[in-house]
């Protein structure tokens, strides 16, 4: 996923209401009315959140005449998961090196001047 789009996904996930909407959709698709229910929010406000989620590819909306169900899309969340794992690996490896560095320098320098 190009970095620009990942940024769009992150921006969409930055809002707690939108994260709550996604958590709800993880248990199955829902109408806008259903999604609006837990929040004391106007329909335009919820629609605004849904547009952000749709633009980021996190949800898709059905096109049936009577209702347009919102559905969670797994792809972008998988990309977020991959991002988390990439950085977890980066830091764990860095911390292995930090651990090694701290041991080496302590045996060389001792604790002189390190305590404050």
């Amino acid at each position: 996923m190009p970095l620009d789009h990942l940024s769009t996904v992150f921006g969409a996930l930055a809002d707690p209401t939108r994260r709550a909407i996604l958590t709800r959709l993880a248990s199955g698709q829902a109408s806008v009315t259903e999604l609006a229910r837990p929040f004391e929010m106007t329909m335009p406000a919820i629609s605004k959140h849904l547009k952000v989620l749709e633009r980021a590819g996190l949800i898709t909306r059905g096109r049936q005449a009577q209702w347009r169900p919102c559905q969670l899309e797994a792809g972008p969340l998988k990309e977020v998961d991959d991002w988390v794992e990439r950085y977890r690996r980066f830091w764990e490896q860095s911390f292995d090196r930090l651990d090694q560095y701290l041991r080496e320098v302590q045996s060389k320098e001792g604790n002189d001047g390190l305590e404050e």
């Binding site: 940024s7 992150f10 994260r19 106007t42 959140h49 977020v80 988390v84 830091w91 292995d96 305590e115």
Partner: protein
């Protein structure tokens, strides 16, 4: 070596790693903020540091370059937000593109706690800053106000009295 990673909320792009180091806290803290120390460890296995510069003060910039075992160079940069030696360090973090322009900004928060002669360090990285963490920082104040306006617009009820101020905010694109 003791390491623990939390499994965070799957909708939140964040990671938390806790690690205990067999070294006193001031020493571990300084390994992060002194370039001649950070040089030796910051980066994945097999990478070598090319450049490391740190202006360690709130609002100060840092920049690092490293080379992969395959020979590709990676540059990253950021700005320090909080420095409370030896217990807390917060900075932004972004990779640079080929032109040196920073990409998506992430936020890294570190806390260091004494555990006898050892140090328990916790890293918390997020893909975005919360509105709360931006409060009080000059940088990002405008976007904070925009988000607050959006929040007000989203939570106002259609029926009921509205001030002229929230009316204006509703007209914002």
């Amino acid at each position: 070596m003791v390491s623990r990673s939390s499994v965070a909320n799957p909708t939140k792009p964040e990671l938390i790693i806790t690690r205990v180091f067999d070294a006193p806290r001031p020493f571990v803290f300084r390994a992060w903020i002194e370039p001649e120390r950070a040089w030796h460890w910051w980066g994945p296995k097999g990478f070598t540091t090319l450049f490391c510069e740190m202006d360690v003060r709130p609002g100060g910039a840092w920049r690092m370059g490293m080379r992969s075992p395959e020979g590709t160079d990676h540059w990253k940069q950021g700005v320090y937000r909080e420095i409370i030696e030896p217990e807390r360090l917060v900075f932004s973090y972004a990779w640079e593109d080929a032109q040196g322009k920073p990409g998506h900004e992430m936020l890294v928060s570190l806390t260091f706690a004494e555990q006898g002669p050892k140090t328990k360090m916790t890293l918390h990285q997020t893909a975005f800053e919360s509105v709360e963490s931006r409060d009080g920082h000059r940088q990002g104040w405008t976007s904070c106000m925009e988000r607050f306006a959006e929040y007000l617009a989203a939570t106002e009820v259609v029926a009921g009295s509205k001030t002229a101020c929230s009316g204006e905010m509703r007209k914002r694109p």
